[in-house]
Symmetry: C2
Subunit: 201 residues, 2 copies
Amino acid sequence: MSFSPLVDRLLESLRVLPGVGPKSAQRMALHLLERDRPGGERLAAILAQALAEVGYCRRCRTLTEAELCELCRSSRRDERLLCIVESPADMLAIEEAGGYRGQYFVLHGHLSPLDGIGPEDIGLDQLESRLSEGEIDEIILATNPTVEGEATAHYIAAQLEDRDIRLSRLAYGVPMGGELEYVDGGTLSRAFNGRLPFSSV
Amino acid sequence: MSFSPLVDRLLESLRVLPGVGPKSAQRMALHLLERDRPGGERLAAILAQALAEVGYCRRCRTLTEAELCELCRSSRRDERLLCIVESPADMLAIEEAGGYRGQYFVLHGHLSPLDGIGPEDIGLDQLESRLSEGEIDEIILATNPTVEGEATAHYIAAQLEDRDIRLSRLAYGVPMGGELEYVDGGTLSRAFNGRLPFSSV
């Protein structure tokens, strides 16, 4: 129910945005129509342009409108380190945390035989040719700490066995700033099993 | 910081949406680019179309792409009742509550001399000509229960004094389903002053 068929269609199409229900869609549509038409026009134009032009980096498969993303073009990144992540969002999170200065490779998902997602669907053939360029010393398998992410990491590790590349994964443990009381059991056991000498902390 | 200038511009332009901060903008952009390009394209197209075509109803000033909105064209609404609201969102809220079967008039704001918003800016000249059509018995002043909304309602009431039209406003009182403990003092005093004989409840 609304004012007009076109506004109704706008409300409905705003619902494709994650986390946007009927109430937020209404608030957004009315805000743009009543208070910020130039902002809305800019959003419509840039969204259309981004969807038409943004593809995947030829080298690391992250999202970019260029052939190579800014990170792959940068001369200030360590060419010998490669971090494999499931999604561009993971890559962004690692970049925002700072500290990592190597390269990336984005799988855009994880292996999931039941859903028909195999090695090619997550770009592992492309990873092979990336590695054949031959300058990488270490690969950090930074897939999600979920059953599927772990399985994917193990699969990739098995594929790379014959190569002279060091493999590592992110450390498991209790998250910083959290309270032990609220940490789940699986994480707690991992943190106990991986305990370190106090001096190294 | 992101992957590419175009994705950065998309993140930035999503921030025009109310309630969308950097994190949600990122989630939305990645969702559309990674998982729902057709939905994103539909959103871009309909948003552009709505911004270009949706204007104001000639009669009630609500948002519509037609000359008259669906409500003004409907033959099933009571022509003798007119409800004046500040925004299309208020009109929607009243429609969703159900029960009201009259017409509307949308001010798109309230009087605010300090911001230079005078009677013409909220369409009061148009309201005059709307009333000159001469079929309205009662006007319900449903501006917001705020200082500005009340002032606007009083101004409109003064303008209409000479006409043979009954004026009313929404009842003030405690909201249904609330707990008295959490109702603000102003609302509580209003509810006390407006108390009704128990039998009428």
